[in-house]
Point group: C3
Chain length 273, copies 3
């Protein structure tokens, strides 16, 4: 698809979300439970937050997508993710993994790798160091300095190899987002620096991906469209805000109703040639 | 009481809350802990969030009302509710139950029913499908289609029978809220569609009920007044907001200081004849 | 230092925070995880929320400061604090304790005292009754009536004795904040009544102290500067808000960028003679 076609596709996916209001099951961290539920609602889907082992099977039987996030992780919550992921996998619904803090501590790194090996994850979204921690040899790439051009190339190469080998979509977010399924790749140039001054905005990006994957069967397109929409909402929010507090409020407002005109003009979702 | 008397009563209850600043003990879900604490403070009461088994007895000894909410439930938290509920019941303070997700999974349905059977609940507030899941035969009423007129009548009938049999107040919230003690019933016509696009606003309604029940001895009147006030605050918030983010902010502002004039003119708390 | 020197020092510390973006490890309560992470980011530091026993040692190895908060406490979380605190203590990084609810239940009081005895706490911040519950004889001072002048003197005396004996900084916040290391004391006259109508603003003050202690070696100065900055941000926020919802949003905005001019003119951080 061309950049223009991807803008149109983004609008189509949003209309589908608002028509079907898919149920997005989150097993996520304590910091962002409220904010990601609000991102889900602003986009037009319906959030369910649940983690009790006793209801993972029942809950996973009627949801449209599963969003896993390993912030504030404990072993109990990891087991919740495995339980829900097995059912989601059997049902064939998309599963999104946000490996928060993978690479920072062994608990997180091992948890992310265990989830990837036991659950049929559809999309992984993280920052460069989180994504790098997931692939073989990732330990050897220095985490500091990931913004250098050399490292950006290394991360993209690693992400592409991992995506191809594991048959997943891998999204590396940062100043420019990079999404790949191992064969085709897309860059997203939407976004704003203020995202970094509000907690949970990365987790919110993963939630946006989950909402888009709930109705769009191609996870590469769904992921790129979600990141474009989310980034553009941030750009529009920044225009009417005075700092991180008002930015977050305006972000929810923008996610709720960016106009199709704004999207056609300002989305920057670009296939990598 | 007439509609006008109920408006006056709402104002009186609010003045009492602000005078005594009652302590509202919440055992609630992770998604809404922050937002319901802020609803409590905006209304003029004082929130306490605590769930450790070791302090349930001590904490319940000096609070004015107990708010139970089964979102993000696990067995540990259910036991916290039972422990706190026993002490609250012995002390005779009001106990409000929000059966979030009852009917959706067996864990939730059985938890809500266990709480109702072991704890002297004063008020239950839920949406139609949650309330329907609580009463005998509730399983047989289809959950889908609860907005049809036929179902609305069935739910109201069920709620009235349950309220009379169990000697509780039952509140079914939706486009029009319905509150009953089994003998008298009240409709609340305040509210706004934007409530549905912000997470935890149903839980916030239960918190408002808790604040009102802390100072008003008649739980039917307290519940109706709380839902009227909360719904009207939403109407006023919607006037000055651009989407779900600014709506939530404006909701806290409105809960903090709706004028008596606005309340007398716009509250729609109507006895059902 | 004089009041004017303390204003200048506050600006210097802020510039240091924004230069180094120190990692602030929070083990805190469910109500404020999101809001204190946002306070951290608005001030210019980086929050990490983690509590799993399995990663307390690894996480504590690369953080700049540890923030402990006993709201919504359970024994598991207390053990997390002890585990992280031991490593933080060995590394010599500052540790801030917010004894939320100490004095209200034995669980909280005993937890706060255990933390103080087992972990080398740098700063304790609480309201008068929380701080009073921590020192020997604290039980005998009436908790009600802490705003009377007599009690204010008693609390300040107790805080000063405790600070000197335990070699810690003790901060008692209220209408006028009081910070002491047992030898020198500082009053902070910044602040606003609206702080009391938003949940977690006391926890946010402790987070501000943690951010300031991460880069300023003198914890008395760091604590006083943090409380002055946080209080002044509240004053500025109150000017542009209509109630508790918009106040909280404006508070984040103000924490993000109070001008140096505003700080030099309006900070009220006064050495006690």
């Amino acid at each position: 698809m061309t950049e223009k076609e991807l803008s149109k596709k983004t609008i189509e996916i949003l209309l589908e979300i608002r028509k079907h209001q898919p149920l997005v099951h989150h097993i996520t961290n304590f910091v962002v439970m409220n904010s990601t539920a609000n991102v889900t609602l602003a986009i037009g889907a319906s959030p369910i937050m649940a983690h009790a082992h006793e209801e993972m099977e029942a809950m996973s039987a009627f949801t449209s997508v599963l969003n896993l996030n390993i912030g504030t992780l404990t072993p109990y919550w990891l087991d919740s993710m495995i339980l829900a992921g097995k059912v989601a996998g059997e049902r064939g619904i998309p599963i999104i993994l946000d490996p928060v803090g993978s690479g920072a501590t062994p608990l997180r790194t091992e948890a992310a790798r265990r989830i990837l090996s036991e659950i049929p994850i559809t999309v992984v979204r993280g920052n460069a160091s989180e994504v790098m921690s997931l692939f073989a040899g990732g330990e050897k790439i220095k985490i500091r300095g990931v913004d250098s051009m050399e490292s950006v190339e290394a991360v993209r190469h690693g992400a592409t190899v991992m995506a191809a080998e594991l048959r997943k979509v891998v999204a590396v977010t940062g100043e420019i987002d990079f999404v790949t399924n191992g064969h085709s790749s897309i860059e997203i140039h939407n976004g704003h620096p203020m995202f970094r001054r509000v907690t949970g905005t990365g987790c919110g990006a993963s939630t946006a991906i989950s909402c888009f994957c709930a109705v769009e069967p191609d996870p590469l397109v769904a992921t790129a469209a979600a990141l474009g929409y989310y980034g553009l909402a941030g750009e529009e929010a920044a225009k009417v805000s005075n700092g991180p507090g008002s930015f977050q409020v305006a972000l929810y407002d923008a996610l709720y109703d960016l106009s199709q005109k704004t999207m056609m003009e300002k989305l920057r979702i670009r296939p990598v040639r």
